[in-house]
Subunit: 356 residues, 2 copies
Amino acid sequence: MNYAVIIAGGSGTRLWPLSRRSRSKQSLRLVGDRSMFQHAVDRLAPLFQPEQIYAVTRADQSALLSSQVPELPVASFINEPVGRGTAPAIGLAAIQLRQTDPQAIMAVLTADHYITDTKQFRRVLEAASSLAGDGHLVTLGIKPASPSTGFGYIQQGESLGTIHGFPVFRVERFTEKPVLDVARQMVTSGRYSWNSGMFVWRVDRILQEFRDQMPALYAQLTEVEVALGSSDYQAVLARAWNRLAEQTIDYGVMEHAADVVVIPVDIGWTDVGSWASLADLLPPDQDGNIFVGPYQEIDTHNTLVFGGKRLVATIGLQDIVIVDSEDALLVCARNREQEVREIVERLKINGDSQWL
Amino acid sequence: MNYAVIIAGGSGTRLWPLSRRSRSKQSLRLVGDRSMFQHAVDRLAPLFQPEQIYAVTRADQSALLSSQVPELPVASFINEPVGRGTAPAIGLAAIQLRQTDPQAIMAVLTADHYITDTKQFRRVLEAASSLAGDGHLVTLGIKPASPSTGFGYIQQGESLGTIHGFPVFRVERFTEKPVLDVARQMVTSGRYSWNSGMFVWRVDRILQEFRDQMPALYAQLTEVEVALGSSDYQAVLARAWNRLAEQTIDYGVMEHAADVVVIPVDIGWTDVGSWASLADLLPPDQDGNIFVGPYQEIDTHNTLVFGGKRLVATIGLQDIVIVDSEDALLVCARNREQEVREIVERLKINGDSQWL
């Protein structure tokens, strides 16, 4: 049996003021009229029954996401009391699936990314499942469209041939976000993919790696596993998660795991991590502008206006990002979107919680 | 007896999106926590009793202005059915004052301007009243702070000596808004003042000029005058105002009137006609920014943020004007504020009346 596990926690602070504590990035309608989470479920539909689709999310974000995708059973939502990074999130899903079928194949997917070629996406998922059935830990690598310094990279090692027509390589190395010069060399070499955070593996195989490489986390996971289905579950989970540090699957498990392979693919993948990356997804007008919501513009160029109900009027602007939300407004130079994070940090420090 | 008549109609489209059909510029709290109209009344208080202060305004703006200045009797509000320019507005006040005292002195004042030296303002009003008592039509000229192309200019002629220490000149000529080169020459010559739209005269004298120079308007005014206090008044006024074209006092009356004098004064006068001029009135921070309302900024320079309740976050901006209102937002390059008018025009053409 195959399962899809969508990792749908996270805060998305770089998409402030739209993404908020009570309104996670995954719940936002950023592309078209479906939320990022709805898109993530939609593209799985032809391959998975609703009962095969799980989402790991934060307890306080779960109700909103569940309401957006009523076709998923409520039991599909695996709720973390607090976010502790991708390793605990994936581990929590894995122990739950082990109860049903230790040999089950588990695709770890995201709701942070937009994928235009969903057919190719499903084809590579099927190919990866075949590989995972043999015990490989499969990572989906994204063919780099640019020397981005915003992603980790996966270095391809020995070729293992092809599966369903997709080339497969042993993973030589996971690298952290590089500086620009290094990123350029990586892309030019043709031997690196972006790390998409999408993985396919057998439940028993990944839990074996957790046990070997992150024994402290694994110990907490087994305590939680014992409590599954009992009235103690929430309390045990909360206690366990309180004890955990933040840990990512990449550095906690994948870097030193055995038998890790990568399938480099081109599926029209975009990380919707910032307003700049979202702008790449929306069709601009002849002046390079993108307007979402009612607007009036005079002599405006290369500007993103992500509005809603309110009218946004722009005059004489160039390379500006405007994001309008109910109670907060962002106006930002277009090459400075990464600093939105700093605004959110300051609001935290100042205790301005109504805008977080 | 002296009267002050505040001309408080007008739309202020260049202050959109704050100024709206239902919320005239005069009713806005642009400087400090008093509206422009409240400031206009406040600075008269030491010189006039509430019963001596009148306001000419549009009927649909009258209730809001009246509620802002409860000390003025409701009868102080002279309501026009529609705005027809300054000449009909002043004429309407003059015929009403003539009923009480044809020899009354009437100071025509504005609520569009901010005056920092209110003591000097009242001193010059008293001086102008003395002159007006002798039959002069007195204009208050503003000593030009710059070669502005946004105002009409008044050319000084023969000196008539001083009154209460203020120099008095015959008016040689009223000029329309000049081009920059001409404005520079005017300011350098020292013989020109800005036309502030403030006048002091006897009621009988100005009505005599209306009769001689604008007989069609005067005929309508006398019809309205006959109906004053009757149950027909509103109907007669509406009919008369429907027949009128827009006419300003400057070109309709003052240019060819007899015995027009000017007192050039420095009273810290600022026309609050656009966001640029408002910015001149508010104290900037060390980066040249002005923030009204809650904000967070990173690397922002020479930027005006006129907000309110909502948080405005700015990153990497230079020379931008941001004006946030309940249902509409303006983001504008700082040298382009005059074009706000065009936005308003387009909304009219499109029938987007909710934002007008």
